[in-house]
Symmetry: C2
Subunit: 80 residues, 2 copies
Amino acid sequence: MKAIVNVYLKQGVLDPQGKAAHHALESLGFHGIEDVRIGKQIVIKLDSMSKEEAITKVKEMSETLLANTVIEDYDIEIVQ
Amino acid sequence: MKAIVNVYLKQGVLDPQGKAAHHALESLGFHGIEDVRIGKQIVIKLDSMSKEEAITKVKEMSETLLANTVIEDYDIEIVQ
């Protein structure tokens, strides 16, 4: 069983890494970009358990360690 | 139009950031984790264009700047 946690900055929080990538892309000749934002994708391989159990567990992991909920949001996807 | 690029280390490439998160989660009392790998999720807002055009453009961006294709793989998803 695999859980994918996408952690991204909340709307309104400045993203300097994204801004840098945006400028770099433009200076490389890519146009028509409105905005770039960079987050983390965390893939967690879990021992077999029910989907509900996995969601509860991974949510707790996200709140405790994976996301800084003051400035970041996250979503969880369970695959397999 | 929004493109999501997930950039992750190729299989076999050591992921020290993922290993650190794995150990931290275990020391916090989370068990039943087999593996943790951490990648990047890049969200690019694009001016309106066709889906095909967007895919071609974002693929070029990924190859040029967003992913280090020696050690990283990526996948592209177009939404909206």
